[in-house]
């Protein structure tokens, strides 16, 4: 199969959905003429024109609010917030409006919008352009949160998100934009709320999100040389997430490592750890549940400090070895 990058896979999903459905349109800061801060929407303005690829003023509140309004009136907007850090300014429209409307109208209104946003550190972009705030949205009933880790998942999940009738926060990780992988040319969907076992193993379950899936797979390959077989589970959708796949894996291995880039305190991993502890997998645990996550600090600009602020492959390897001490 042909290989393309994560950014190209997202662009292809946007293009194919816009070709398929005239209700789909894009809006965001610098997504048209400039092609997006990370070049994801390059060429789409030329192909679809300014009516469907709309450069907006610098107002995240307007972007999210206009998207929610357009969705309510029958469109399927895909809005982009240039950095996830800036979603702070869109919170009112997302949390109090987009997330609540369908419920408050007794199901008679729907809000089929997608909000795409690049997240994460590793680019030297400092504390206000590097955050991973997905847990904030996971916390809100009425929003769905999707976080793909491969080009294949990015395309299939984005198409599913666009076709979904609820507001979906689609978290793209900057460090993944240039990663390549096999992606079919024709449109296809990856269902929301279905986790995938990215690597099977019997000894330790790693539940990882976004770029941490890539790092966990690299760590798993090295650990396999020591005879440690790691199973890597990628939830792919964080809300509503697939507890069954995770539980099955934990029952199989009895050891759990949760890895994400976002802050540890009240991060997505805390939810997963609590779910495992409350559920049937608890009785199969043979080691304390372990979390590796971002340190509770603003992401430093200094590249060395930035590197150490979030989990890296070597940290994952060490944590797995420590879990393996519980025989």
């Amino acid at each position: 199969m042909r290989e393309i990058t994560y950014a190209e896979a997202i662009r292809e999903a946007l293009r194919q959905e816009m070709q398929r459905d005239p209700h789909v349109f894009l809006m965001g800061e610098d997504i048209g003429v400039y092609g997006g801060a990370f070049g994801v929407t390059l060429g789409l303005l030329e192909e679809f024109g300014p009516e469907r690829v709309r450069d907006t003023p610098i107002s995240e509140g307007v972007i999210a609010g206009a998207a929610a309004g357009a969705a309510l009136t029958g469109m399927r907007p895909v809005a982009e917030i240039m950095f996830m850090d800036f979603t702070t300014l869109a919170m009112e429209q997302l949390v109090n409006q987009a997330a609540k409307t369908r419920y408050m109208f007794g199901g008679k209104a729907k809000v089929p919008m997608v909000l795409r946003t690049p997240a994460g550190s590793g680019t030297g972009a400092a504390a206000q352009h590097s955050q991973s705030l997905e847990a904030w949205f996971v916390h809100v009933p009425g929003l769905k949160v999707v976080m793909p880790s491969t080009p294949y998942d990015a395309k299939g999940l984005l198409i599913s998100a666009i076709r979904d009738d609820n507001p979906v926060i689609f978290v793209e990780q900057k460090l993944l934009y240039r990663t390549k992988g096999p992606v079919p040319e024709e449109p296809y969907t990856v269902p929301l709320s279905v986790a995938e076992v990215k690597r099977a193993g019997r000894d330790v379950t790693i539940i990882a999100t976004g770029v941490m899936v890539v790092r966990s797979l690299a760590a798993a390959a090295k650990l396999a040389q020591e005879g440690i077989e790691v199973e890597v589970v990628d939830p792919r959708t964080l809300k509503p997430y697939d507890a069954e796949t995770i539980t099955k894996s934990v029952i199989k291995t009895g050891r759990v490592l949760i890895v994400h880039e976002a802050y540890k305190t009240c991060g997505f991993g805390a939810e997963i750890a609590a779910m495992i502890s409350e559920g049937p997998a608890f009785m199969y645990l043979n080691a304390p549940i372990r979390r590796l996550a971002g340190l509770d600090i603003p992401i430093p600009y200094n590249r060395t400090l930035e590197y150490h602020a979030v989990p890296q492959e070597e940290n994952i390897i060490t944590a797995v070895r420590e879990l393996m001490a519980y025989k």
Binding site: G254, Y284, N286, A287, T304, H308, P311, E314, Y326, K327
Partner: protein
């Protein structure tokens, strides 16, 4: 203020640099911005400028030395200033694959500080479930997991034992002593030493006639500390440590002396023993031994050792081999002084003979190096006046 001169990192993938030559010598005055030395980085030669004006001191890397990037290779101090070396930890280079210790954030109330309740069994959930399902008593199972936790494996083994018909009457147990505290530390460190360091052991017999007279009131152990420390100066490999893929020769000669206490072995350290008088070593050793038996040693008393002496002569043990005290390179085991007939020239004489045995880390040094050390130590002890 001393300004450190570091091996610069000029490329993203560069991990080391090689010193080609220094344009100045130790003690020369250098001016900020002038070329200070030439280094080779990724096969490119480049000149490194002085980062400050002052006197070049403490050059640590010499032509052809390969140095990790960001490591300090010299200092520039103010004229007249003495160089006080800071402990400089090299900044880890950026990039993938750098092993680093990553400190986990500490929650406001740290869970580590919660003391375990005595009498409670530590077991993982699956171990508890299996024990319950198979009617096993967890208090009768010894946990082999971290911190003595009973794991699934421990319960499975207990199930096997329970299932296997007893082939011999079980040995009756008087009591069990938990492997905790100092006993556990000793267990772990000795296990580590035996696992990591290939031991070689060499013995030599020493005529202690001269030493008996020379020691006056001092103990034999103090005398040995005194003499060994001085001989070690000429045998730096026995006073070294293996750090990664480097053998680090240590400047200080700090002699640890194994002391038996009710809680087990402890090794207080006589710091810089090669600079101290025998009488002072004897006083210090008596004081440290007293504090060791009273359990009043401070962390400072027991850290920093570079070589260890262990003496079982008082128990009439003629000779023995000791396990190296990591991360040291060698340990001296001292046996009893026993009067024995010896042949000197063509006559038979009765002399007090002591057998000294050095165990050494064969990764760091070879048998010949230990033999030479023992030979010189023997000569020094027999020559004492």
């Amino acid at each position: 203020m001393a300004t450190p001169v570091i091996m610069p990192k000029t490329g993203m993938t560069q991990e080391t640099g090689t010193v080609i030559r220094w344009f100045y010598q130790e003690g020369d005055y250098v001016k900020k911005g002038e070329p200070l030395l030439e280094v080779m980085t990724d096969k490119v030669n480049m000149e490194i400028e002085a980062p400050a004006s002052g006197v070049l001191k403490g050059i640590k890397a010499f032509p052809n030395d390969i140095v990790p990037v960001t490591q300090v290779i010299a200092y520039i101090v103010e004229p007249g200033e003495e160089l006080v070396e800071e402990k400089v930890t090299p900044t880890p280079a950026m990039g993938e694959g750098v092993p680093v210790e990553r400190r986990e954030p500490t929650p406001v109330a740290t869970t580590a500080a919660i003391a375990p309740e005595t009498g409670k069994v530590k077991a993982t959930p699956v171990a508890r479930r299996l024990a319950r399902e198979h009617g096993l008593d967890l208090t009768q199972i010894t946990g082999q997991g971290p911190g003595g936790t009973i794991t699934k494996d421990d319960v499975l083994k207990a199930m096997e034992r329970a299932a296997a018909p007893p082939t011999a009457p079980p040995v009756r147990e008087a009591k069990t002593i938990p492997l905790v505290g100092r006993r556990r530390i000793i267990a772990e460190r000795m296990q580590q030493s035996v696992r990591e360091a290939p031991h070689i052991a060499l013995s030599i017999e020493v005529d202690m006639s001269a030493a008996e007279k020379a020691r006056h009131d001092a103990s034999y152990t103090a005398l040995l500390v005194h003499v060994v420390a001085r001989v070690l100066r000429k045998h730096p490999l026995l006073n070294s440590t293996l750090r990664g893929d480097q053998i680090v020769l240590l400047d200080d000669i700090n002699i640890g002396v194994a002391v038996a206490t009710d809680e087990g072995l402890i090794v207080p350290v006589i710091k810089r023993a090669d600079t101290k008088l025998l009488a002072d070593i004897d006083t210090e050793l008596k004081e440290l031994t007293k504090r060791a038996r009273a359990g009043k040693l401070t962390l400072d008393d027991v850290t920093g050792g570079t070589f260890t002496i262990t003496n079982l002569g008082m128990f009439d043990i003629p000779y023995f081999r000791a396990v190296i005290n990591p991360p040291e390179a060698a340990i001296l085991a001292v046996g009893a002084i026993i009067k024995r007939p010896v042949v000197i020239d063509d006559g038979i004489y009765i002399r007090p003979i002591m057998t000294l045995t050095v165990s050494a880390d064969h990764r760091i040094l070879d048998g010949v190096a230990v033999a030479k050390f023992l030979q010189e130590l023997k000569a020094a002890l027999e020559r004492l006046a």
